[in-house]
Structure formats: structure tokens, C-alpha cells
Symmetry: C2
Subunit: 332 residues, 2 copies
């Protein structure tokens, strides 16, 4: 039985869902990988808890978090093998997630990032650091979660040349566009998305296209070895759409989608965020509400499309898929 | 530089496509995996060729095949590390593919099967043999090729409980059904599918549902650890559909699909081949002509759908995706 110690930074809805699923899968990990999985450390922005034998979960999964057990020293003190970073995203500085991931990789811990900030800020630097330390940096949770994106590029299409990627990568924009095509105003659709917990309290990050831009930025750099910066990515939003646009699209029988796009032309990789329209019989036209999708065009496998849904639980499960791939590799 | 020797059994259109892609990717394998890949042996049913330094490809990719270099002794004589089996399918006896795969696994070679016969005949026996010999048995090419199916279950959804799988897994039946909904007769649609090289000269294997049954059989056994036999799988075909059925479906605004289905209820795994209809806004309804699709319902990741195309090149590329996963694991 091999012991794996896990630290979780960022302990909001997603971080808690990660912990919950890990605990539900304890037996699964033992049986499939002969692995004894313990969560030994969690922290939020102000408090945390470390117990090297495994955290003392209460009956309602509550933890006696201690103020100040966070930030500098937390990673080193955790004695963990794997960091799962689920904190808030800051793509201008990388935020605290960037510091945690750098510390973890430097100490020979694998890192699984759900938050996008650190990856947008410096994916290449983190990937180099992981390589130098012989550990893995995994990013499924940061790139559309349950929808296979980076997996699709790196695993399902292994060996193929990927020529183009197009994705509906942000649930909020897809939800709002769907509602607008059903006759709702932009403001009402955004309010509805907030009410349902799809949109953040400040929805600008999504509706201005930043969320999609972050995701194609990470996918281009991780999947194609590009070195794009966020400012290299031309970006449409959905906040400029007028009622006249909606009427015209309906009249033309097309469906608008905010798309993240990567074009790979012989090593020259470009990314963009574009408002595009699709005919009704295109698979993307059926991708409504909380769904996401990705379409990949390859040299020898033709076109592959994947469609998935979005939820905090699915995002947590995507990070734990990454974790399970570490277990698979170690158990082989 | 690690040397990998490959043997290919079955040297028709697919086997030749496999060889062609391997040769095109020589540089790719060297750069990514420090692997020197040589095809050292190929055989069809009557002739073959072995050269331990790598086969002497002519300028037009022709090979001087020698009569009798096939069958018993071929695998042992090949001194290969990996077998790629692309021969004809015989799901009643396993056919020659079964013998080749057994010999390969017994000798410590990895086996990648594109043909379904051996896997339908005895997947569990072959998987046990692979495990006992510390090698891998890979099956992407046998389970809908470019469409991720077994990958999806074992890799992209790692850790999830898969509750149900539904797939449009046979290109011929999907093509014929699509044409019938466009007004063509069954016979004309089958003739058209043959003319385009989608259907086999004897299309009964496809239109009676056997091809889909074989694929769900393999997926259920490989993906869920079931021990189903082909006769355990209730099976619809598309050869009994009447013009009245077509008219009724059109009037109802639904689309017919021949579906392979797996239901997984707490370790009890059932498989079936069913003729089902879907509303126009279901993703499956847009999956026409040569396309295939799979929809997987999970506990924590919700529903994932993948859509892909079919071609001999894509099938060969799927087997080489399997091969590349072996290289990835060895190179780690």
C-alpha cells in the first residue's frame, strides 16, 4: 500500500468538492492502485489545517480550521506529495496559486491546478519547473473541467497533427446567448445566470471573453507548446450584442456562439476569442444552457467533437481525473 | 534511443495504412520519446516478410512478400516488441488474430488489436494473459477507431462511475438510416454505402446489428470488467425497417439510430443493440452519414458526448494512438 498525501489550497465550493470526492473514493483508490490516500492539509486565504496523519473530518465534513495556517510555509509544512490548487484566479499576477504551485513543484510535489490564474500568468515557467523536478503539472480542471480538452489534445489524439481547435468553453456566455436567442434581454439573461450560480457576482470576466481567452491561452501553451500571452489573443465579448443582431441571426437560421479558437499552422500557433454563428445542423448549435463543447480538426483522424456539462462537482472530478492519472502511472 | 520492433498481422488496407503512418512519424517518435521505431515483420493470410533490421520498403511502399511467411512461427520469428493485429474478424472462433495475439502476449509482446474477432471471442482470457506477462492489450482500433470510446471510459472519466453508455458505433447502419430518412430505399442505401466503401461486400454483419453488438461486447468487458458473450446481447438490426416506419418517424419529428447500449447498475452490466429514435435537438440527431458518436452518463461529471468520423486512415491512427500510449508510459 503506497501512501499519498494531498494538500488543497483554496477551500471554497470547488476545494470542498475535491475533498468530498477523495474521501468517497478511498476504497476505490485502495482497490485499483493499492494507494492509501490522505488529505493532510487544506487552506483558504486566512485559515487552514495540517495533520500529517490525515485531517480530522467531523461528521458533517466540517474541519476546525486555524487562523494563519496559510500562505508562506503552508506547502512546505504540509509534507504532501500532491498539491491541488483551487483558489481564486488572478491572471495578472498569478495570485497566491502561482506561489503555491511554484513551491510545490520546487519541492518535488505534483501539482494539479483548477484555478487558471497561475497557468495564464506563466504556464511555460511552471511546466519547466515541473520537468526539472521530475513531477507533473496537470491542468484539466482549469480548462473546461468535465469536457475533455487538454486530454483530447494530448491523449485521445496522440500522434495526430491538430490543425484547429474551436470550443464553447465558458458556460456563462453560452447560457446568456441561448437565453437571448429565446427572447430574453442581455441584462435579464445575466441576472438569471447569476441567480442559478452559473455566472460570478461580477460577470464581466465571462461576458467580455476573458474566461474563454484564458482557457485558449492555457490550451495553446500546454497543448501546442506555444508561448502566447493573454494580450496576444484577439477577443470578442457578448456584451455588445444588440436586439437587431439577435433578430438577424434568427432570420438567417443561425446560432451565435462565443468561441475560443486555436489555429496551428506548422508550428505557428494562433489563438482568438470570436463571436461566430453556426447553422442549425452544426453540433455546436445544440450545445445550449450550461453545456460546453470542443471541436478538434486533425490530419488523419478528421474531426472530433466533445460535448459536456459544467458544475462545481464536475470541475472537482476533472482535477481528480488528473490525480488518478498520476496513480495509474505510478501503479504501472 | 530505445529500439521498438513492430510486427503487423493482416496487411490489407488498414494494415498498410498503419505501416504508412508509422513510417511518416519516424522523426516524431525519435523527438518525443527517443524511440527508434522499426517495422520488422508483416504478414497477410498467405505471405509475409521478416527483416530484423526493418523491412526494405520500395519507393512506392511495396514489399517483396514471401509466400508462406505467415501463421504458426511468424510471431516468434518476428522478434518484435509490439504486435498490431489488423486481420479479418471472426467472432465465432477468434480467427487467426486470436492465435497471433495469444502468441504475442505469451512472449511478452504488447498487442494492439484493430480486428474485433479475437476480443469478442475471449477478451477476458487475453486480458489475463497480458497481465500475467506484464504487457498491455490495447483495443482502440477495434472499438470505433477515431471516436474515443474505451479511452473515454478508462482515461477521460477516470474515477467516475459510468452509469450508461449509448453509441452510434457502426458507420454503415448510420449511413443507411440517414439515406432512408432522405427518401432512399433500404436496398439503394446499402448499395450506395458499398459503392462508397463504407459497407462491406456482405453488409449483413453491419445491418443485422452484429458489428454494433461486437463493439458493445468488447466495451462492456474491457471497460466494465463484465464477462458478456455475444449471445447475451439482445440485438436489433435495421433490415426490417419499412417505408411506413420512415414516414411515421418523419411525421413525429424524430430521427432513428441503431444504438449500442451498456447499462451499469452497481456492478451488474448489461449490453444491447437497439433501434431508437431521438428528437431533432438531441446531439445524436446531427450525427449523420459516416459519423459515429458516443454518449456517456456518469455520477459526478454528468453527460459527455463525443462525435467522430470513420475512415481506414482514422482506424489506423487509432491503433497508433494506442501505440503512442505505450511509448508515453515507457518514456516517463
Amino acid at each position: 500500500m503506497k501512501r499519498w498525501n494531498i494538500a488543497i489550497t483554496g477551500f471554497g465550493a470547488i476545494g470542498k468538492a475535491v475533498a468530498q470526492i477523495i474521501r468517497e473514493r478511498e476504497q476505490h483508490y485502495r482497490e485499483l492502485y493499492a494507494a492509501d490516500i490522505r488529505i493532510v492539509a487544506v487552506c483558504g486565504s486566512r485559515a487552514g489545517l495540517i495533520d500529517h496523519d490525515g485531517l480530522p473530518w467531523g461528521t458533517d465534513s466540517a474541519l476546525p480550521l486555524q487562523p494563519g495556517v496559510t500562505g508562506a510555509g503552508f506547502i512546505e509544512g504540509s509534507h504532501a506529495n500532491v498539491l491541488i490548487e483551487a483558489g481564486p484566479t488572478n491572471f495578472e499576477t498569478g495570485g497566491s496559486g502561482y506561489t503555491y504551485i511554484r513551491q510545490a513543484l520546487s519541492q518535488g510535489m505534483h501539482a494539479i491546478s483548477i484555478s487558471k490564474g497561475a497557468l495564464v500568468f506563466d504556464y511555460a515557467g511552471l511546466a519547466d519547473l515541473a520537468k526539472a523536478n521530475g513531477v507533473q503539472l496537470k491542468i484539466s480542471g482549469a480548462t473546461s473541467a468535465a469536457l475533455p480538452t487538454i486530454d483530447l489534445l494530448q491523449y485521445n489524439l496522440a500522434g495526430c497533427q491538430v490543425l484547429e481547435v474551436e470550443g464553447i468553453l465558458t458556460a456563462t456566455t453560452n447560457f446568456v446567448l441561448s437565453k437571448m436567442m429565446d427572447g430574453m434581454s442581455f441584462d435579464d439573461a445575466v441576472a438569471e445566470a447569476k441567480r442559478l450560480g452559473i455566472a460570478e457576482p461580477d460577470p464581466r470576466f465571462d461576458v467580455e471573453g476573458w474566461d474563454t481567452a484564458c482557457k485558449v491561452n492555457i490550451l495553446a501553451n500546454a497543448g501546442f507548446g506555444a508561448r502566447l500571452k493573454l494580450q496576444d489573443i484577439p477577443r470578442d465579448g457578448i456584451d455588445q450584442i444588440s436586439p437587431a443582431d439577435i433578430q438577424r441571426w434568427k432570420a438567417e437560421g443561425v446560432v451565435p456562439k462565443l468561441i475560443g479558437r486555436i489555429q496551428n499552422d506548422g508550428g505557428n500557433t494562433k489563438a482568438s476569442v470570436e463571436l461566430k454563428t453556426y447553422p442549425l445542423d452544426h453540433p455546436f448549435s445544440q450545445v445550449t444552457a450550461r453545456m460546453k463543447a470542443i471541436r478538434v480538426n486533425t490530419d488523419v483522424m478528421g474531426e472530433i467533437t466533445a460535448i459536456g456539462v459544467t458544475s462545481p462537482l464536475a470541475t472537482a472530478a476533472a482535477a481528480l481525473k488528473d490525480f488518478e492519472h498520476l496513480l495509474m502511472a505510478a501503479h504501472r
